[in-house]
């Protein structure tokens, strides 16, 4: 209490700059006056009396110092003095200050952006009640075709038989429908979830209520829908009375029961479902069908249960199920992962982000090395001033503190600027949505803290160099020699080390960006097996018409015909799902003669695309042999299919595939054509077997129209709507050019290229300023020496090597070290760019060339200045 009281008084005094000087002076006066008078009365002369009294009082100045120290906050006062002095010093050399601030701003800003993304994607826990105990159940082996966990009946078995989970919820992530409300119709995508979903995650509704397990009573029993906040705002204008309203999803009435809070968007970070509805509404077949593996399972572990125990428990159940249902359940081993990052893609995303973070920190390290060089050079220039201060009684610690104050001040300003820049950049990024799906990167407290830590950390890093230098030096030496002579030019100095390190880091980063660019080019050049250029994807939902089976196929045929008749359209067709749209899974196929259709008996698990005649032409996929499917292939005629090269090779080797048979979806199917190889799930997959089956022989709800035409998508949408108005009125159409819809697929390569490109550029800038600074500094310091050399008849090459020799040598050594470390960092780069190869001659050559150009650019001006030395003028000057 007393201490607090005192602190407050001192703070107050400090704040209002109150000084009891007058009071102390008066008190001292009267203190000395009293004994003086007594002494005079005792018979002393006035002078002697006063002297005696003063002696008794003690050192007036020391008392005053103590008094002030008690009165205010001396440390803070000193700090303020340091800060004020530092500001004055920095203002005196604006060029230096600007360069330092810019360097820091870029270095810290880049790190904050990277950390912001890292924070949003990896560090921030999912917004559910207990993210730590929430797991997603996956298959042990990442098999294509097994991206989802189980079939719905198997999910129910897992849910009932396990002893290790508090609860399990099943999610069908591919629910989509045409949502109509009043006169508006909109295509929406959402999650169909089990009734316990919201209770398991512990989320509270923003409005209304969520549905619960008790609402489910078998198929189609719970026509409820929960809207996402975004859908509620966009389509329902944030109308609070929407709760209880009936809307239509694919012409079926659903009651809106509630709205989810804005921060909740399911368990996947990159996906924003528009709505949630009970999985019971997915159709009567869904809960019984053991063979369609459509459910993603999440579960919350019981307290005290380790993931290991839970995995063993699940695997035991999986084995049991394989015995009970040998036809459908294959008893694959399971494992647990935290949900949020597209399942196993999480490892890739994690590796990518941590590696980019590491590279960003390297950029900051290079920036710090750069600044350390600058600050050390400046401290050397200020030797005389510093020496003077030591000679006048300043303590060495005080000097170091002064230099550190300058460093911290510069980095605080630079860091603040970097933070503002990063904030603006992230805001722009959020608005332009370059991230896959719906990720929003917010600058929260954690990001601010990281920014502050980076700022102070870098201040310490680059402030240490001049401080250490000052600590080491003796004032006598500093005073005796002029600053110019003190620098030992022969010796290998701290500065050289810093510049070398900086160049090595820069080379590494330049290597990294070149590797990324190469990767990007490769990704763009990869043969896709189709030609997105010049093709358009039209999404129009004919299911709204309430047609099924043969009638739907007829309708589709009519639409295709109408499309083909639009001027400028060269080909049109439909496909169940275009490549690279996710959720693709293999369908087991069997050799003819197989009787038991168990997964283990399957010959292959190819992707199966349901296509209309003309799709292959519209997609630009070449037919290598045989014929296209035709509208004449009907359920009454023999089942036919087109397979791709991989399928043909894997099934029948060198034997011609056309005319061969296999069994898919229980139908003996004849191969009538072979199509070219391509990429289907992602760019980096190995060759996959693929089957194209005709639409007229297969019922498939999802159809995308592919239209090949040179016209613009907007124009095309209007033309399509006009052409279709007679056939399918009031069907909402969305048209997108195929290249646009593929943007997401190229996102990783693009993100890597942009991230590494920006860092490479920053690093290159730092290298230039570093080399330039060093060369320019040494030339200006050695002007006189160079002048004498020229006067004594030195050749131009000698002058050059004296002037910029050292930076060039450092550039060579640093680049070599950087290239070597790039080769050792292959693994790190491999996390960022698929099949990164820093040994690639193009990359190595490009790096060497870049560094050489940077070196030339940076040392050209100092070298020119050295050559232009006019000895007569220079010698006359001093």
């Amino acid at each position: 209490m007393r201490a607090l009281n005192r602190l407050l008084t001192r703070l107050f005094n400090f704040a209002i700059r109150r000084r009891g000087d007058a009071r102390l002076r008066e008190e001292m006066e009267s203190h000395i006056a009293a004994p003086t008078e007594e002494n005079i009365r005792a018979g002393m002369t006035f002078e002697a009396a006063r002297r005696h009294a003063r002696l008794q009082f003690g050192a007036v100045d020391a008392v005053r110092e103590d008094y002030h120290a008690e009165e205010g906050l001396p440390q803070v006062e000193n700090l303020l003095l340091d800060v004020r002095y530092a500001l004055r010093v920095l203002r005196k050399s604006p060029a230096f200050t600007a360069v330092a601030l810019l360097t820091l701003m870029l270095g810290i800003g880049a790190n904050i952006v990277v950390f912001g993304v890292l924070n949003a994607v990896l560090l921030k826990p999912l917004d559910v009640s207990d993210p730590q105990s929430l797991y997603q159940i996956r298959h042990k082996q990442w098999m294509i075709g097994r991206l989802l966990t189980t079939s719905y009946p198997a999910f129910e078995d897992f849910r009932q038989r396990n002893t290790t989970f508090n609860g399990m919820a099943g999610i069908y992530e591919y629910s989509h429908a045409a949502l109509s409300w009043r006169n508006a119709v909109r295509q929406v995508h959402g999650d169909a979830v089990t009734g316990n979903y919201f209770d398991l995650l512990g989320v509270e509704p923003e409005l209304g209520r969520f549905f619960h397990a008790a609402d489910e009573h078998g198929p189609d029993s719970a026509p409820y829908v929960v809207l996402s906040d975004a859908l509620w705002r966009n389509m329902f204008d944030a109308d609070r009375s929407v709760v209880g309203v009936t809307v239509e999803l694919d012409k079926h009435p659903f009651t809106v029961v509630g709205v989810a809070p804005a921060r909740f968007h399911g368990t996947e970070r990159f996906v924003c479902p528009d709505y949630w509805m009970p999985i019971a509404m997915e159709g009567a077949d869904f809960p019984q069908n053991r063979s369609s593996i459509d459910v993603m399972v999440i579960g919350q572990l019981k307290p005290g249960v380790t993931p290991q125990q839970a995995t063993e428990n699940l695997n035991a159940i999986s084995t049991e199920l394989a015995k009970e249902y040998p036809e459908t359940d294959d008893g694959q081993a399971l494992r647990l992962i935290h949900p949020g990052l597209f399942g196993d893609d999480g490892d890739v995303i994690r590796g990518f982000l941590w590696s980019v973070t590491a590279l960003a920190l390297l950029v900051l390290a290079a920036a710090c090395a750069n600044l350390a060089t600058l600050f050390a050079a400046r401290a050397a220039d200020r030797n005389r001033e510093l020496a003077l201060r030591v000679a006048l009684g300043s303590s060495r610690w005080r000097l170091v503190r002064q230099l550190l104050t300058e460093a911290v001040l510069v980095s605080l300003i630079g860091g603040a600027a970097g933070l503002v820049g990063a904030d603006l950049l992230l805001g722009a990024l959020n608005r332009s949505q370059p991230f896959v799906g719906a990720l929003t990167v917010s600058v929260d407290a954690r990001v601010y803290l990281a920014g502050l830590a980076l700022t102070l950390g870098s201040a310490l890093l680059f402030g240490m160099a001049p401080a250490w230098q000052t600590w080491q030096s003796s004032p006598l030496q500093m005073m005796k020699n002029g600053p110019a002579d003190r620098i030992d030019l022969r010796r290998f100095a701290l500065r050289d080390l810093l510049l070398g390190a900086q160049i090595a880091i820069c080379t590494l980063l330049v290597t990294a960006s070149l590797v990324a660019v190469r990767g990007m080019v490769r990704a763009l050049d990869a043969p896709l097996g189709f030609q997105p250029q010049g093709a358009m994807l039209a999404d129009l939902d004919l299911r709204q018409e309430g047609l099924a089976g043969h009638a739907a196929a007829e309708k589709t045929k009519a639409v295709i015909e109408a499309m083909r008749s639009i001027p400028g359209v060269t080909a049109a067709g439909t496909v169940s799902r275009t490549p690279f749209t996710g959720g693709m899974h293999g369908v087991p196929i069997f050799r003819p003669g197989t009787t038991e259709f168990k997964l283990n008996n399957s010959a292959l698990a190819p992707y199966v695309f349901t296509v209309s005649p003309g799709y292959l032409e519209a997609a630009g996929t070449r037919l290598l042999g045989g014929r296209d499917v035709s509208w004449h292939d009907a359920t009454e005629t023999p089942y036919v299919a087109i397979v791709n090269e991989t399928f043909a090779r894997k099934m029948w080797g060198e034997t011609p595939a056309i005319g061969q048979h296999f069994i898919v979806s229980g139908n003996l199917t004849e191969v009538v054509g072979v199509a070219q190889e391509g990429k289907y799930h992602d760019i980096e997959e190995s060759p996959q077997p693929v089957v194209y089956v005709p639409l007229s022989q297969n019922e498939d709800s999802g159809t995308i129209f592919v239209v090949r035409s040179q016209r613009a998508p907007g124009e095309m949408a209007a033309a399509l709507e006009r052409a279709l108005s007679g056939i399918a009125p009031n069907v909402p159409i969305t048209v997108e050019s195929w290249p646009d819809s593929l943007r997401d697929e190229l996102f990783p390569a693009r993100a890597a290229t942009v991230a590494l490109g920006v860092m490479g550029l920053l690093a290159a800038m730092l290298a230039v300023t570093g080399i330039f600074g060093m060369a320019a500094y040494s030339v200006s310091r050695r002007m006189k020496e160079l002048g004498i050399r020229v006067a004594l008849g030195a050749r131009r090459t000698q002058v050059m090597s004296a002037a910029v020799g050292r930076p060039i040598v450092l550039l060579g050594v640093g680049s070599a070290v950087g290239l070597l470390s790039g080769i050792f960092a292959t693994r790190l780069l491999g996390q960022i760019v698929y099949r990164a190869n820093p040994r690639d001659p193009v990359v190595v050559g490009g790096t060497v060339l870049t560094m050489a150009l940077l070196g030339i650019a940076a040392s050209a001006i100092p070298a020119w200045r050295a050559l232009a030395v006019d000895p007569s003028k220079l010698l006359r000057e001093e």
Binding site: R2, A3, N5, R6, T9, R10, G20, R23, L24, E26, E27, M28, S30, H31, A33, A34, P35, E37, Q56, F57, G58, A59, V60, A62, V63, D66, Y67, A69, E70, E71
Partner: protein, 115 residues
């Protein structure tokens, strides 16, 4: 000349408090004189050091000060103990006595007592 001992600030503060407690309001010089008198010149204060201590005590709320006329009609600052100051003095006195008693007992110890 007798070696003058520097008085530690804490001890000095305690002496100031006791002096004010016994003699009532006093100015700086008066306090210095009394302390010198009582400590029997054994403890001659470097008198100026008193002022930072007075300021500190005032900031802590143990004493209060105001201007007033001194004996020879000069303006002087008079210090007076507050209620908080009296309590502080009591507490400090208690602590001090306890410490002194313990130290005293140690000095009286003979070899026999520890056997």
């Amino acid at each position: 000349m007798k070696q003058k001992r520097d008085v530690q600030q804490g001890t000095l503060a305690l002496m100031v408090l006791k002096t004010l407690d016994v003699l009532g309001p006093l100015h700086g010089y008066g306090i210095a004189r009394r302390i010198e008198q009582i400590s029997g010149d054994l403890l001659s204060v470097n008198q100026g050091t008193l002022y930072p201590v007075l300021l500190r005590l005032e900031q802590e709320g143990a004493i209060r000060s105001e201007w007033g006329p001194s004996e020879n009609n000069r303006r002087a600052r008079f210090y007076r103990l507050t209620r908080a100051g009296s309590k502080l003095l009591e507490a400090e006195k208690h602590d001090w006595e306890q410490t002194a008693a313990i130290i005293a007992r140690f000095f009286e110890v003979k070899a026999g007592d520890l056997a």
